[in-house]
């Protein structure tokens, strides 16, 4: 049975083109043009993933995301536009998994969709393997090719959170809260410094990172350099 994707956009033409495209890629497609009908459609037929426009006639994609997150972990990809950066970050903070910027390329959207569908649950095993690194969460040990990589406690937590959400875009706020605690959230400069320290220790060429990637203005994403 093919996976069900809910597409939400108030532009009928975009809805039509996206619907046809996704069906062509083998998905089952539901569509909705408003926030209200999107929530109703998701409740009636729980989707495997949601593609969600940020600006809807009766509300914001951010609120739809927040509402969905109260009962489903189905990944949400946000369709944003230039000029909607703030709203995009808000949607990601509210639990959206990724975004593409309009006008987007179909290949990019399909790739993002495949990626979010692959990691439906965060990796929670005691040992994570990523980009040639072995991360032992229980022992708080990181090794590369059997050799110990020395990380400070914060650097280790940063790497752990990124690795457990492999492929997912994590906003500055999410990372700060996960690693430093709920009192943090607006100290993005803090984070940039730690990420550069972390890269210096785990990347083969820290000036051209292959493991921890920067999403400008939004956050960071850990990708598996060997897998891509």
């Amino acid at each position: 049975m093919s996976r069900r994707i809910l597409v939400v956009d108030d532009e009928p033409q975009i809805l039509r083109a996206l619907g046809t495209t996704l069906r062509g890629a083998g998905y089952t497609v539901d569509t909705a043009a408003t926030a209200e009908s999107a929530l109703a459609a998701a409740a009636a037929q729980p989707p495997a993933a949601v593609i969600l426009d940020l600006v809807l006639p009766d509300g914001r994609g951010t609120d739809v995301t927040r509402e969905l997150r109260t009962w489903t972990d189905a990944p949400v990809i946000v369709l944003s536009a230039i000029g909607e950066e703030r709203e995009k970050i808000a949607a990601l903070d509210a639990g959206a998994d990724d975004y593409v910027t309009k006008p987007f390329s179909v290949d990019e959207l399909l790739a993002r969709l495949r990626a979010v569908l692959r990691r439906l649950t965060p990796e929670a095993g005691p040992v994570l393997e990523v980009g040639g690194l072995t991360i032992d969460v229980a022992q708080r040990l990181v090794t590369r090719d059997g050799e110990r990589v020395k990380l400070t406690p914060h650097e280790f937590d940063l790497l752990r959170v990124l690795a457990q959400n492999r492929g997912k875009l994590l906003t500055h706020r999410m990372l700060l809260r996960e690693v430093w605690g709920p009192a943090y959230g607006d100290e993005a400069h803090y984070l940039h410094v730690y990420v550069s320290h972390l890269r210096a220790k785990i990347e083969r060429d820290p000036s051209r990172p292959r493991i921890v990637l920067t999403e400008p203005g939004a956050g960071y994403r850990l990708v598996d350099a060997d897998a891509s």
């Binding site: 108030d10 532009e11 033409q13 975009i14 039509r16 083109a17 996206l18 046809t20 495209t21 069906r23 062509g24 890629a25 083998g26 006639p57 536009a81 230039i82 000029g83 309009k102 006008p103 987007f104 390329s105 179909v106 290949d107 399909l110």
Partner: protein
């Protein structure tokens, strides 16, 4: 001028005369020498009313008169007894001191009154200027009242000395070395220097405050206007980019899908994607055309090519061009107008398109033609939800969209622009729930034009 001399002169003489008569009257019952004090009583009112200038001579004259009429040897200015000498000297000194004291207190009183007048005037001026009244309109009465306070027939206050229509020598009104204006007094008028020195700087300070305040207000207004036009431009840009991006997104999606060989489409899917591309490419083209029209209109570059037309013909052509003749009912006369037919058809077409968009499916749109003596009016009436009162003006603004957010919000703005370019006007009438009427009024051709036979 003469009364200023005559009156004090007569008064002074009267004071001396009355004192003399009193002395004569009281002489039988009192020692003559002690009655000299009565002259002091004459000096006092003169000092109070006319000042020391008059009271001192009156004091001297009183003593001489007393001596002449009453002190032996009478009818001479000489004195026999040393006793009389000392009494006369005492009276003289008393009279002079009293006259001086009285005159001084009189001066104080006048001075206080003057200061009070100045303060009252300054307070009044401050009240008017700070109350936000326009400075220029106030200068007339301020000048008049200043003249009163300075004791001159007239005073002309000007803010811009360069304009100079003043008579006499203008005196600069200065605050801290800054000249805020000038005051001109008629030649020959000589107000007290002390008053000028006291009052004019205070007046200048008030004017400076009012001028600064006006300048700040103007600057604030300009800044606000700039901010609003910036806001409008930002809103415009946002609307344009949104309206361009939506069709672009569906086109790139459809093209990307068709080019992706991994995707599997039926023939129907493929046709639908191609349809999407065609429809949205046309939508983009129309939007770009509308934007060009609008920018031409705003730059004043939509010069109409006027021809004489019967308005009902323009209406029917506009409706035909939309292909909606079956849903539009036209009624009314055939007023003649001298307009650019393409532009006016566009106005009508945009009205009709708009009306159809907001009409319930199948409901007709009515077009009514009427004419007054000066204007031919086209009314496009729909049976849609209507327009709320506060929106009636705004619907003609570029990128304004109704509640359903359909369309780019340019049609009515373009209609208004073309109507204005042809000397006409547009407006909307509506009662919520009862549909809306969009009206176009054009000047009618006054005299019927003779057509060549």
């Amino acid at each position: 001028m003469r009364s200023r001399l005559v009156l004090p002169l007569l008064g002074s003489a009267a004071a001396v005369a009355v004192a003399t008569l009193l002395v004569v009257a009281l002489k039988p019952i009192a020692p003559t020498l002690s009655l000299g004090v009565l002259y002091v009583l004459g000096v006092l009112p003169v000092a109070v009313v006319w000042g020391a200038r008059w009271s001192l001579p009156v004091a001297v004259a009183s003593m001489l008169t007393f001596n002449w009429f009453f002190l032996p040897p009478v009818h001479t200015f000489t004195l026999r007894d040393t006793e009389n000498w000392s009494a006369l000297a005492a009276y003289s000194v008393t009279a002079i001191v009293v006259s001086e004291l009285a005159a001084r207190s009189r001066r104080r009183a006048t001075d206080a009154e003057q200061r009070e007048r100045e303060a009252a005037l300054l307070a009044e001026i401050a009240g008017h200027l700070l109350g936000g009244e326009e400075l220029e309109g106030q200068l007339g009465w301020i000048g008049g009242r200043t003249a009163q306070v300075l004791g001159v027939p007239e005073a002309v206050i000007e803010l811009d000395a360069a304009r100079g229509r003043s008579r006499g020598a203008p005196t600069p009104l200065e605050v801290d070395g800054r000249v805020v204006g000038t005051i001109s007094l008629p030649a020959g008028a000589q107000p007290q220097t002390a008053v000028q020195r006291r009052f004019l700087p205070a007046l200048a300070a008030l004017l400076a405050v009012a001028i600064d305040r006006r300048r700040l207000e103007r600057e604030a207004l300009e800044a606000e206007a700039l901010r609003r036009s910036d806001l409008a431009k930002t809103a415009l840009l946002r609307a344009v980019s949104h309206d361009l991006r939506s069709p672009l997104t569906s086109i790139t999606t459809a093209v990307g899908a068709l080019r992706n060989e991994a995707l599997v489409f039926t023939d129907a899917d493929r046709r639908e994607l191609l349809d999407t591309i065609a429809v949205d490419a046309e939508r983009l083209a129309r939007l770009v055309g509308d934007l060009l029209d609008l920018s031409r209109l705003e730059a004043g570059g939509a010069e109409p090519e006027r021809e004489l037309w019967s308005l009902d013909e323009l209406v029917r052509d506009a409706i035909d061009s939309l292909g909606v003749a079956d849903r539009v009912e036209v009624a009314g006369g055939q007023p003649l107008v001298n307009v650019d037919p393409v532009q006016i058809q566009r106005v009508i077409a945009n009205f009709v398109e708009n009306a159809l968009r907001f009409s319930p499916p199948g409901a007709p749109v009515h077009v009514r033609l009427t004419a007054t003596r000066r204007e031919a009016i086209v009314r496009v009436v729909d049976h849609g939800p209507g327009v709320a009162e506060p929106e009636l003006e705004r619907v003609f603004e570029p990128f304004y969209r109704g509640a359903d957010r359909s369309g780019a919000g340019l049609g009515l703005a373009i209609a208004r622009g073309f109507a204005a370019a042809n000397g006409g006007r547009v407006w909307a009438e509506s009662r919520p729930g009862q549909g809306a009427t969009f009206a176009l009024a054009l000047p009618v051709v006054e005299a019927p034009v003779e057509l060549p036979a």
